[in-house]
């Protein structure tokens, strides 16, 4: 069995490389494809192997998705906040350093969260029944805090409400398939690329420094804050990495560098700990976990096997991420950034039509327009997460 599991891990890593490096191709999409093909796959492979492949893909994705976010300025919801500090370092010739910081956050956050799993199993089971009736109000508190800390509160509130209304309409369209793709790609992907085209970005020669000068205390604090925030995002539906990052930045003093460690830790820890939420609460917090929950009964034995597989994947992908980033750092200066950005916008539009039809394309255009509001008005992009938060808040409060 061990060879089959290692084979499934390799397949998952290959899929994760595709989803992680290709802007707009999310793990939810591949998970949905695996589920829709399960009638053909389940007779051929034990369900555990499909689950291991999905989990390996998802963990790989969380390690690699900052590479396009930093080098191409094409993020997803989870990496949206890494664009600004990441892009800043890229423009200073430190793109490799930016990705390396997120990889350190992912690896150390993952190890810490797995070490804490035995405690978290009890904590989640104990506190969730008390928190459940309060979830909607806690989320309102988080949103209010985020809006009030922004210098342009009115615009921040307007962006949150407009994104939320768009989310409410689009997520309730019965004829639209894969609604998250055009919504998130428009709000966070296309809009960022359009801005970078407008700003006529020139990318300097990238430095590849093997030694990273960062204070150990700062690193430990950032990993701790990222792990805690990742735990919260796995517990609360609708709370994404962006909101988690805002919470984490209130816990510790954050610099550009430690912020990237926090972002790396949050998205990986969020995925790892959503397996705990599945085991303890039988609740799936993202598309990949929904696929896992449909394929297999997550008993303790299976969860232990999956966590060990996650560790194996994390080790392999850390080395892979450093190699791939070095490659990106060498190539990026040789590519015409304008054509690259235009190419990615066209790719996202084509994928939008393929995955969600012409209606999805219209949603993509609207979301892209709305996504421009944050950089044009100089407000934080995370207010656009109202697209998911407002529907979730209304679900819990009404």
């Amino acid at each position: 069995m061990i060879w089959f599991i290692l084979g499934a891990i390799l397949v998952g890593i290959c899929l994760g490389i595709i989803t992680g490096l290709t802007p707009g191709v999310h793990i939810n999409l591949i998970s949905v494809m695996i589920i829709s093909m399960s009638a053909f796959l389940l007779p051929l492979f034990p369900a555990l192997l499909l689950v291991v492949a999905i989990v390996s893909m998802s963990v790989t994705h969380t390690f690699l998705d900052t590479i396009p976010a930093v080098f191409l300025g094409a993020p997803e919801a989870d990496t949206a906040l890494s664009v600004l500090p990441g892009h800043k370092l890229l423009l200073e010739g430190n793109g490799y350093k930016a990705v390396k910081l997120t990889v350190i956050g992912s690896l150390l956050g993952l190890c810490l969260s797995i070490a804490l799993v035995p405690i978290l199993i009890f904590v989640v089971g104990f506190i969730y029944p008390f928190l459940k009736p309060l979830i909607g109000y806690i989320l309102i508190g988080v949103v209010a805090f985020m809006v009030l800390r922004d210098k342009q509160r009115k615009w921040a509130f307007l962006l949150f409400i407009l994104s939320g209304v768009l989310g409410l309409i689009v997520l309730n369209l019965p004829t639209l398939s894969n609604p998250l793709f055009p919504l998130l790609s428009g709000l966070f992907g296309v809009s960022t690329l359009v801005i970078s085209l407008k700003d006529k970005v020139n990318i300097p020669e990238q430095k590849i420094e093997k030694k990273l000068k960062i204070d150990k205390k700062v690193m430990v604090k950032a990993v701790g804050a990222g792990t805690f925030a990742g735990f919260l995002t796995s517990l609360f539906p609708g709370l994404g990495a962006a909101q988690g990052a805002v919470i984490a930045t209130q816990l510790v003093k954050i610099t550009n560098e430690s912020f990237l460690i926090v972002i790396g830790a949050i998205s990986t820890v969020n995925f790892v700990l959503s397996l705990v939420t599945l085991y303890v609460l039988d609740k799936a917090r993202n598309g990949a976990i929904i696929a896992v929950s449909q394929l297999i009964q997550a008993d303790l034995g299976i969860i232990i096997v999956i966590f060990v597989c996650v560790l194996i994947v994390a080790g392999i992908v850390t080395i892979l991420a450093l190699k791939l980033t070095k490659g990106f750092a060498k190539i990026i200066t040789k590519i015409n950034y304008k054509f690259l950005a235009l190419g990615i916008i066209v790719l996202i539009c084509v994928l939008g039509v393929i995955l969600s039809g012409w209606l999805g394309f219209i949603v993509l255009l609207i979301a892209s327009g709305l996504g421009l509001l944050a950089p044009l008005k100089n407000i934080a992009r995370n207010h656009s997460m109202g697209v998911l938060l407002l529907p979730v808040i209304l679900y819990f409060v009404l």
Partner: protein
């Protein structure tokens, strides 16, 4: 932290993980098999399979159904169940051979 330290941690985590997986698999029950592997099992063998419910026929206290569209497996439950086509199920039971055709006599069914 330099690259070599990061790579050392990665190797430790990966190799340690593989060794841990080897030992854990000796104790943990991960014996759910694919429907295709059912063909290799003998009459009376106890198996656990996952699948998607296809055709369902309920007659009195017997419910028979197939799981999956290709490499189908017939399953029988001695109970009156209302199963919907397309749902995912986990089945545990004994293999029985009827006229050269393998079927699963279900002891436990869990709907996902």
């Amino acid at each position: 932290m330099n690259d070599n330290t990061l790579i050392k941690i990665s190797l430790f985590v990966s190799v340690g993980g593989i060794i841990a997986l080897f030992f854990i698999l000796q104790f943990v029950d991960v014996d759910a098999i694919s429907v295709k592997q059912v063909e290799e099992k003998s009459d009376g063998d106890f198996v656990k399979v996952y699948g998607q419910v296809n055709d369902v026929i309920s007659r009195g206290t017997v419910t028979s159904f197939t799981i999956n569209e290709i490499n189908k497996l017939d399953a029988v439950v001695f109970d009156n169940l209302s199963l919907e086509k397309g749902i995912f199920v986990e089945l545990e039971g004994k293999i029985s051979e009827e006229q050269g055709q393998k079927q699963l006599i279900v002891d436990t069914i869990r709907i996902r």
